[in-house]
Amino acid sequence: MIASVAFRNFKALRETSLILAPFNLVIGPNGSGKTSLIQAMVQLRALARLPLRELMPDDERHPEGAEITFRFQPPFDGLEASLSCVSESLCDFLQVTPLSTGGGVDDWVGLRARLLSLKSYRFNHEAIASTSALKDGGELAPDGVNLAAVLFTLRNTNPNIFECFKAELLRIQPEYDEITLIEQADHTIALGLRLAEGAEVVPSDNLAQGTLYLLAILALAFDPEPPAIVCIEEIDRGIHPRLLREIRDLLYRLSYPASTGDTRPSVQVVATTHSPYLLDLFRDHPEEVVITEKHGRTAHFTRLSDRADLAALLEDGSLGDLWFSGILGGVPDEQ
């Protein structure tokens, strides 16, 4: 979907660019641009909603203003979208220009429709655990607050997909044998999981945080109409290290649907993490790992696969340990 992003003067991203893969795991210290990358994509979506403006005359441009330039995968590789920004962090102007090569030059409408479907998540277990109004059961909210209603709707409208969702949940968390979604008198939906032993239903506000995050990620992975692009911050949040493999598999299900025999289009995923255990799982695919680095007030991106000596380094250490040690970059400055 998005082929590359180039930044100029956007927060700490003074002059850096990044080629995006179908799946991207972004690691790095706080304030190094992980969230800025996602914010830039969200701003692109926001500005794509508005009618396009005419080319901005040079004298109106803010010379030091931030600029973010996106290029796209085929069939939209003939278009470039640039965000110009009034300040270091707020972009207010989207310009779409045709490139000399590539397709889709006349199909901003098509590209726009895909960009508008972009979703950005930063799940919160308290939000996920809350009861939600039945009428809110459309798209999953950025913090997961309407999860119960989303699942209730999925069960009604796509019972087969709901059964797959449930089977996957119960396989990963075999201590449960049923998911309960009950419409209450006030038309809110209450979510619970039934214990396999004793048949007691654990209400959502008593579920483990990791289980709540897993439910939200599963809901994304089994979305019957997935967006073109999904950004998820802190994907490892609350998840037991041994279950991170399941999380990776769920995200791959979105990015590489063919790997699970699925025929729907691929969803581009940008996920951030601080977990060395999750990073370990990308040893065979270093091209999917983006390292954000901050030197002073300036941050930039590198791809793990750009490290020529990576194979040799991996002979003596796991990826997570190598990252923690500092030799891969992407670690906080220390006094």
Partner: protein, 212 residues
């Protein structure tokens, strides 16, 4: 018999259980939860603690460890010479960890030490799964490739041949692993012949009864 298995993933563990039972010729009780390491060198790092724990805190009879060789030096008959130790060979390394860790252990739970079995999958456990199906794949082909610098296949290629994708999910990995080792479990001669670093594990296990 009660055994612990230390492996790199639940899929590896599922396959190792089938293979170990095939060597033993029967079922064994499993130490729960399954032991997991995050690849080499984490296996070598956690192994002494695991051996200590199993010896003093459990009634396990033995521990089976299987790791991928990746690009490391492959164990051979020369390494088996008395007192020999190759620092880049994972078989030599793991055997040394067992020796050193258990040297001064007092008896516990009615046994002087726990049995150990070490297997190295060259270059990855998927090569074992392909044994008997893919003539190209064998430990000697890999070692010859290391010698000439022309490896016959990559680990990624082996994975693709087994799973049909380079991004298998855990369920698919477990399913394929178990299918392939069940195919081989009734006659392990081919696997032992083509993969001496599996044969070494089988020998370790067969030696347990004689030593018990």
């Amino acid at each position: 018999m009660k055994l612990a298995v230390l492996s790199e993933s639940p899929a590896d563990e599922a396959a190792i259980v089938v293979l170990v039972e095939a060597v033993i010729g029967g079922h064994f009780k499993h130490v729960r939860p399954g032991l997991r390491a995050r690849g080499w060198p984490s296996v070598a790092q956690v192994l002494p603690s695991i051996i200590r724990h199993l010896h003093f805190n459990t009634d396990a009879d033995g521990l089976v460890v299987v790791v991928d060789s990746d690009d490391s030096v492959v164990h051979n008959a020369e390494h088996d010479a008395p007192g020999y130790f190759h620092p880049q060979c994972r078989m030599c390394r793991l055997r040394a960890v067992f020796r050193q860790t258990t040297k001064k252990f007092p008896a516990s739970h009615g046994r002087s030490r726990i049995f150990h079995g070490v297997g190295i999958a060259v270059p990855a456990v998927e090569a074992w799964y392909l044994c008997g199906c893919d003539e190209q794949v064998s430990e000697s082909a890999w070692v010859a490739g290391q010698g000439t610098g022309q490896l016959p296949y990559t680990r990624a290629e082996l994975k693709f041949r087994v799973y049909g994708t380079d991004r298998p999910n855990l369920q698919l990995e477990i399913q394929r692993a178990v299918e392939e080792v069940r195919r081989q479990r009734h006659d392990l001669r081919r696997l032992e012949n083509d993969f001496p670093s599996f044969a070494a594990l089988a020998r370790d296990i067969r030696g347990w009864n004689k030593n018990s």
